[in-house]
Subunit: 84 residues, 2 copies
């Protein structure tokens, strides 16, 4: 069994409004930071998975995303396996 480090990014779907991102964009402008646009905010999740192969670890991560971490109606996710 090997331990795999997994990074998961869960972001609001591109077609949906992201009110949190809009609020942060307003905050950045109020702080005098210009030239910034299109702020979107999602979740970043790191976890460790013990599995027999990278493929099996990735399948487990997919399952975790589908069952708990991401809501497919509003979010998409990307899984990245990190060497370690």
């Amino acid at each position: 069994m090997t331990t795999y480090h997994v990074q998961i990014k869960v972001m609001p779907l591109k077609d949906l409004l992201d009110p949190q991102g809009k609020a942060v964009l307003g905050g950045l402008h109020n702080l005098g930071l210009n030239g910034i646009s299109d702020v979107r905010i999602g979740k970043h999740i790191t976890l460790q998975i013990e599995a027999e192969s990278e493929l099996s670890a990735k399948t487990k991560a997919e399952e975790a995303c589908k069952k708990l971490l991401a809501n497919p109606v509003m979010e998409f996710y990307e899984i990245e396996m990190v060497q370690g």
Copy 2:
């Protein structure tokens, strides 16, 4: 002026307890997903910065992190510039 796509990861510091991560880990185990450990949850932020150079865009992103996006007492951040 070029538009740079920036990805920012804001995570709880390694030495701090992450109660949200602990709760998610419990949820995953309850769902029957075993072999997963050390779940940590942070924010993932994407934004576009219009700047004259990649360096200037990165400086702006650093400033945004320090002033608004990350709380250095509890979080660290990583900035990644994406081609495009």
